[in-house]
Symmetry: C2
Subunit: 415 residues, 2 copies
C-alpha cells in the first residue's frame, strides 16, 4: 500500500482516513443535496469544490438527490475524481489548504450536516451467504443434523426484498404488526411482533448496468460493483416463521431496512482482501474464481436502550462469508437477469463461528433461551421498544483504517 499523508487532521480511529474517500449525499440549511466525500470529521462538498474546475467536468452531476448519475459516469471517471481528491488532500500547497475562505465553503463538520440515502434503489436483493448463520438457523428451526439445505453449498441462496422501506442511518420505525401462530394454537393471532430482530449485514451497490440476457462473470464482477455499505435487515421472527413457507420472507422483513450513508468504494477496500472459504464440494464453473476475494472487515453491533449506554452485543467479520460478492453477482446474472446502477445486494446475516460473533439476536440469545444482560442490568432476548441499534464496520491493516461510519436506527413502539 502506498503511504499517504494528508494535511487534514484525522484521528487514528477515524473511519474516514485519506485511504477511504467514500461518496455520499448530504443536506444542510444551505444545501438541498450535494454529492460529497469525507475526510476526518469533515464532509467535502464536491459541487463547491468543482467551482474551481478541479475535475474538469460539468459540476451539475454533484447537485443531485442521489449518487446514481455520478456512479453512471463509470469507474474510470469516478476513480479519477477520487484520486484527485486524495491528491488535493495530500498536497501541502493545495489551494484547498491555503485558501481558508474556500476551505470553509467546501469542508463542513459531519456533525453539522444530514446524510441522505446515497442511491435511488431500483431492486434490492438479499443473499444468505454466511455459513455459520445458515447453520445456526437451520439447527434451530429445522434439523440440527441437516442444518444446511442441499442447495446451500452449490449456490449463493438469495431472494428479492423490498426497496421502498430501505432508509438511511438515523431513522426510526414502528414495531410492525402482523400474523403470528403461537405454538399452542391452531389459529394465527394478530398483533405487534414479539420477536423483533436485527441482521448484521453489508451490501454492495451496483455501479454498471447490464441488459437482459447478459451475464457477469466472477472475473469481471468487480467492474459492476461500485462499493459497499453497512446494512441492517430488520426482521420479525414470529411473522417470518408463519408466513415464509413456501415463497420466502415477505412482511417479516419489508417494514424497514437500514443502510449506512457512505459508499466505500471497492478500490478503497482492495488492500484488505483475504483468502475466501475453501468451497467444498467444488462449485460449477460459473461460480469459480481465482485469488483472494474475501475481505477482512470488522463488524460490530451495539444496542443502546432509551437514555442508556451503548452495549457491544456482537463482533463479527465480513471474512466469514462463504460466498464472495463476485460469486453472488455472477449467480444473480447467470440467467440473464439485468441489473441497474443503484441496485442493492446485501450479504445476508454475517455470523462467525463463535457465539459472540453471531449477527442476529435469534442466534446471540439462541431463540431467546440465553438472554443478553446489558450494562444497566436489563435483559434482551430480542430488540425492545425505543432501543437504538448501531452497526459499525472498518478494515484495518498496517495502521491504515478504512471504515463505514454508523448504520443506526431506533425501534419505536407499534403504531
Amino acid at each position: 500500500m502506498q503511504t499517504l499523508k494528508t494535511w487534514v487532521s484525522v484521528n487514528e480511529n477515524c473511519d474516514f482516513s485519506i485511504y477511504n474517500i467514500p461518496f455520499g449525499i448530504y443536506s444542510d440549511k444551505d444545501v438541498k443535496h450535494h454529492v460529497c466525500s469525507a475526510i476526518g470529521d469533515y464532509i467535502i462538498d464536491l459541487f463547491e469544490l468543482e467551482s474551481r474546475d478541479v475535475f474538469d467536468m460539468d459540476r451539475s452531476v454533484f447537485d443531485n438527490q442521489y449518487l446514481n448519475s455520478f456512479i453512471e459516469l463509470g469507474k474510470p471517471t469516478t476513480n479519477k475524481i477520487r484520486n484527485k481528491i486524495i491528491e488535493l488532500l495530500c498536497d501541502e500547497n493545495s489551494f484547498l489548504k491555503t485558501d481558508t475562505a474556500f476551505f470553509n465553503k467546501v469542508f463542513k463538520k459531519q456533525s453539522d450536516v444530514k446524510m441522505l440515502l446515497p442511491v435511488k434503489i431500483g431492486d434490492y436483493t438479499d443473499f444468505y451467504s454466511s455459513i455459520d448463520h445458515a447453520t445456526n438457523i437451520g439447527t434451530m428451526i429445522r434439523d440440527p443434523k441437516n442444518a444446511l439445505m442441499p442447495n446451500w453449498k452449490h449456490l449463493p441462496v438469495g431472494y428479492h426484498g423490498r426497496s421502498s422501506s430501505i432508509c438511511v442511518s438515523g431513522h426510526s420505525f414502528y414495531r410492525p404488526k402482523g400474523q403470528q401462530k403461537p405454538a399452542d394454537s391452531d389459529q394465527p393471532v394478530f398483533g405487534p411482533t414479539k420477536l423483533l430482530d436485527i441482521e448484521l449485514e453489508t451490501a454492495f451497490i451496483i455501479g454498471k448496468a447490464t441488459h437482459m440476457g447478459d451475464s457477469v462473470s466472477t472475473a469481471n464482477a468487480g467492474d459492476y460493483i461500485f462499493g459497499m455499505v453497512l446494512f441492517n435487515d430488520w426482521s420479525a421472527r414470529d411473522i417470518q416463521t408463519w408466513e415464509y413457507v413456501p415463497l420466502g420472507p415477505f412482511l417479516a422483513k419489508n417494514f424497514a431496512s437500514t443502510v449506512s450513508p457512505w459508499i466505500v468504494t471497492l478500490e478503497a477496500l482492495e488492500p484488505f482482501r483475504v483468502k475466501g472459504y475453501v468451497q467444498n464440494p467444488p462449485l460449477l464453473p460459473y461460480l469459480q474464481y481465482k485469488g483472494d476475494r474475501n475481505l477482512d472487515i470488522k463488524l460490530d453491533v451495539y444496542l443502546k436502550p432509551q437514555n442508556g449506554e451503548e452495549n457491544l452485543i456482537c463482533s463479527s467479520n465480513y471474512k466469514y462469508m462463504y460466498y464472495t460478492m463476485e460469486q453472488q453477482l455472477a449467480h444473480h446474472t447467470v440467467n440473464g437477469c439485468n441489473i441497474n446502477v443503484g441496485d442493492v445486494m446485501a450479504s445476508g446475516t454475517i455470523s462467525g463461528p463463535q457465539p459472540s460473533e453471531y449477527g442476529s439476536m435469534m442466534e446471540l440469545t439462541w431463540r431467546g433461551t440465553k438472554p443478553i444482560t446489558l450494562k444497566d442490568g436489563s435483559e434482551r432476548k430480542f430488540v425492545n421498544d425505543n432501543d437504538t441499534v448501531t452497526i459499525r464496520g472498518y478494515c484495518k491493516k498496517d495502521n491504515v483504517r478504512v471504515g463505514f461510519g454508523n448504520c443506526t436506527a431506533t425501534l419505536l413502539p407499534a403504531k
Copy 2:
C-alpha cells in the same frame, strides 16, 4: 350501467369500448413518449388533445416516459380526465369529430404506434392467491393430502420479485440458464432450463403512496389501486425446484416478466364485480371485507409456434381468485410497509377448477405427463424456443366489453 354511445366506430369484440378508456404511453416516429388512451382501433394522444385545453391543466404531464406523474395527480383528477374523454367521444358535435385535421393529430391507429412500459416500477410483489393453482402445485410437488400449506387460508401468501426485468408486451427474451438438479443425480448441473413455463396472472398498479408505518384497510384499498394489467410471470421450473428452499423463487423468475401496456382503471372494472370466495376458516379482522369484491375477467392464453397458428391453451377467469386485491393490499401494508405509485402487485397464477382452466403449463400438462397437442400436430410439455405466448383478458356484461389488449412475448433460444 349507464348506456354510452360513441361516434367512433368500435367493433363489438374490441377491448377498447367507450366503457374502457384505459391509459398508456405510446411512441412513434414523431412522438418520443406521450400519455394516451384508446378507443376502438385508435390511440388518443392526450398531449395533443390538451392543446385545446379540454382538461384545463398543464399539458406537460402528458409528455412523459411513464404514467407515474399522471397517476400522482390523484383519482379525482384522473377520473375527471377519463370522464371528459368519454364525454368528448360521445358528443356528436364535439370538435374532435368535426375538426378532421385535429382528429388526425390526436387519433392514431394502434397498429401504427409502439406502446411502452406504462409505469416506472418501484417494487414488484407477486401473490399466490388462486386456490386451484396452489392446490395443484402443492399436490404435484409436495403432498396431495396437504396440498395447501397451513398458512394459505389465513393470509394471501406473497413474495417480492424483480422489477428490472418486467417488460412491456411485444418483447422477446432468452431462455435462461441456471442450476438444476436432475432427480437421478447427487450434484446439480448447469444449462438452459428445460422447463420454461408461463404463469397467467393479472396485476394491479398502485395509484397512491403511503408512508412507512401506515396501513391500508380493505375498505380503503380501492383508493390506492389505479388499475389493472395482464401479467405473465415466466418461470423456469427446474431452476425453481432446486433453488427455492428456504427463501423462495429467485433466478427461476427474475429473468423476464411481461405486462400489457394499457392500464384499465379500477373504475372501468367496477361494473364487473362479482361475489368472492367464501373464506373459511374466517380471516383475522384486518382481512375481512364487505360486498362483492371479486371480478369477472375472462382470461385466455394462446401459444403460437414460430410461423405457426395461435392455439388457445387455457381459458381461466379472475373470479377464481381466493383473495381479492383489496385483501392483498391490506395484508401487504398491515406491517407498515410503504407503497409507491407505480408499484406492481401481481395476482399469482390464476387457475380455475377445470383442467382447461389451469394457468400454467406445469398444471396444464401435469408436470409434462400430459402433453398438449397443437393444431400443427406438435406437442408441448413446456414452452419451446421461438414460441410466442399471448394472454388476453376482458370483462363482458350486457354487451358491454372492457378488455386489456395483448400481453405477449416470444421465447428466444438460450444465448
